[in-house]
Amino acid sequence: MEETLSALLPEGGIRRGTAVAVSGHGATTLAMALTAEASRRGSWVAAVGIADLGVAALAERGVDLGRWTLVDLPARRRDKSIAADVLGAVVGSFDLVLVGSAIRVEGATARRLLARMREHGTSLICALGSGWAEIVSGLQPEVRMVIEQTRWTGIDGGHGQLLARRAEVAVGGRGAASRPRRIAIWLPSEDGRVACADPAPASDFGFGRDFEDVGERRAG
């Protein structure tokens, strides 16, 4: 996995059979990036219930499109049982499954799904969009990433264009991820990659950064 992404994940990668939840503005971009390397190495990826996924952005993240499949859940049938059946079919046959916030899996269904994930070594990435949803709690994500403080560069009042986005990712979770961390990343950078943004250029934020460090020490 690319250096930046492994820096985000406590164990350097997504552990097989576990779930990772990503939320905040930029969750879709980050989730795509997390699947890129796996798809390039030959893993099969299915995205379930994300009707609006941007295919051009997918390619931009370096995903091998030939390894990707998209499964739409028609709005009128977006009920729990169908979603659970569909997930049951793809978990166990795909290496990596990406689900959107439209899917709700709870209670016994979630437990069955978790058991199936562990049995087959399928990992789940939940891209939850901007609102934190309780729906993933049933899937007990091992790692939770919350994207905060996003800031776009290159765009102004009537000028320029969207170039890059700087964001801070708060990483928490269970097990090895239980110690909370905070990492600044480009999502994406100007050259189209998901890259570490630390340390911020001294000329811009030199003062602010030192200040934050002091603040942290005091809190500790």
């Binding site: 930029g26 299915a46 295919v55 499949t69 739409d72 102004d156 969207l162 986005r165």
Partner: protein
């Protein structure tokens, strides 16, 4: 072997052609709509020789289909040579010198070229190398053919005759299996028919369709698992299926029976294609069924020893890929075939055009057409008006109506000179939630299909960043604002 070539025709024209050929032999096979073949030996005796037979057949076919181009028929020892003879029949001006080993004739709506027995090699020698990529060639469906022909071309090989003169061992050593096949074809050795033998009777598969289906897509979807079953069963015995019969029955008591031949070997997707073509033609023919389809049957007619080069879903065969394919078939069963799509890049200006979602079944089918599609839709060609990267991570399936206003609450429009009338300040989505715009850029004009007034679309596009840090692609068209994509 007689091959009748009508050029590219629609699938539903296949049925009248097959019906016309039935008067000559019950064993006529279609390779694809517009390309039909049958063995000459039996019927030629009855109809007065190969020349007379092929002329009668070509005229009968030309009479059955009103085709703009001339129908060509070719006779030769092998399928490849006969197919190219049919192709050349319409192009040759005057009857060739009979001493050359082949002779042509032109009729009112067709043209015929007959290559004498054992004269395939000299006939082929003068033809360009590129015919190895022709639909009649077994190499047509192989992935590496384009590269193979390209390398041969750069080595100075221009005709099939040039290739035939190389030594077989050299070609095999340098190009492997496809090279060997190309070399044998160029030499006029087309043993596909000789290697084929009748399929074991037990290998036929059938499925009752309950409830009866009146949509071709539904039948084709059911045919898929049936075809996979048949191909798998033969593969376990080390056999490739090269010719099949497809039968369909309707609840009105009508039945359709046709034979299909594949240039190389049938995989499940190729079988489903033929099913689709046949049903399409059946439902448009004068003998069309009045009721829905109740039963389909796929009967392998001829098989050949497998050469171990099976192509699975997405162009490869791996255990993981097979498992994924099975899971998707199950998902299609739950949600319908169109619910599963694969991402593909294409040419275009809007985010929804650049990245497309192709139904899985179509994607699997269009592998054969991949080469041509690559040329017709250049993904990397410059599209003026295309948005600069980064591309939005979410492209809304249905653009969401929004309102964008200035600080006074007035509407934001775009002047004829392509400028925003006033800086946009407030963004309100379709649920009524308003947010402040902290940064924006645009308008970027997009004027599509300006040459056709009815299809013309003029849009002004803006990138807009809201105070929560989210960025959106918003479009103003005919005075209405829509959110088209989110840079999530």
């Amino acid at each position: 072997m007689v091959v009748v070539d009508l050029g590219d025709i629609d699938a539903h024209h296949c049925e009248p052609v097959a019906a016309a050929l039935e008067q000559f032999t019950p064993l006529a096979e279609a390779l694809r709509p517009g390309l039909h073949a049958f063995g000459a030996r039996g019927p030629s005796r009855y109809f007065g020789g190969e020349q007379a037979l092929s002329e009668l057949a070509a005229e009968a076919v030309a009479g059955a289909v009103s085709s703009a181009s001339r129908v060509g028929a070719g006779v030769a020892d092998g399928l490849f040579a006969a197919g190219l003879a049919a192709r050349m029949a319409t192009r040759t001006r005057e009857p060739a010198d009979p001493g050359a080993g082949w002779s042509g004739s032109r009729l009112s709506a067709s043209a015929v070229l007959v290559v004498l027995p054992r004269h395939s090699r000299p006939f082929l020698a003068g033809l360009p190398l590129t015919f190895l990529g022709d639909p009649i060639s077994p190499l047509h469906v192989e992935d590496g053919t384009e590269e193979l022909l390209d390398v041969l071309w750069r080595l100075g090989i221009r005709t099939l005759g040039d290739l035939a003169e190389l030594s077989e061992a050299d070609v095999l050593g340098r190009f492997g299996w496809p090279g060997l096949l190309a070399h044998r074809l160029a030499c006029g050795i087309d043993d596909r028919l000789l290697r084929a033998r009748p399929a074991p009777e037990s290998s036929a598969v059938e499925a009752e369709i309950a409830p009866p289906a009146d949509r071709i897509e539904t039948v084709a979807f059911m045919a898929r698992s049936l075809a996979e079953d048949m191909v798998d069963r033969l593969a376990r015995d080390g056999l490739d299926c090269v010719s099949i019969g497809i039968e369909a029955e309707s609840d009105s008591g009508h039945a359709s029976r046709r034979r299909w031949r594949h240039e190389l070997r049938f995989d499940a997707a190729a079988v489903v294609d033929r099913m689709r073509w046949q049903l399409d033609g059946w439902y448009r023919s004068p003998e069309r069924p009045t009721g829905p389809v109740t039963l389909i049957r796929i009967i392998p007619c001829a098989v050949a020893p497998a050469d171990g080069r099976q192509i699975g879903m997405w162009g490869e065969r791996s255990e993981a890929g097979e498992r994924a394919a099975k899971a998707l078939a199950r998902v299609q069963g739950l949600l319908g075939p169109e619910a599963v799509t694969v991402p593909r890049l294409a040419g275009g200006r809007r985010p929804a055009d650049i990245g497309r979602r192709v139904p899985l079944d179509t994607a699997a089918r269009s592998r054969e057409a991949k080469r041509t599609r690559k040329k017709s839709e250049p993904e990397d060609a410059p599209w003026s008006g295309r948005l600069p990267p980064p591309h939005p991570a979410m492209v809304l399936d249905k653009p969401e109506p929004i309102t964008v206003t200035d600080c006074g609450g007035g509407p934001v429009t775009v002047s004829g000179r392509g400028e925003a009338s006033t800086p946009p300040r407030l963004f309100t989505d379709s649920t009524g939630r308003s947010q402040t715009i902290i940064a924006w850029t645009g308008p970027w004009p997009l004027d599509e299909r300006w040459w056709r007034p009815s299809a013309r679309r003029r849009q002004a596009r803006f990138q807009i960043v809201l105070d929560d840090g989210s960025a959106h692609l918003c479009v103003l068209e005919n005075g209405r604002w829509h959110r088209e994509a989110i840079y999530d």
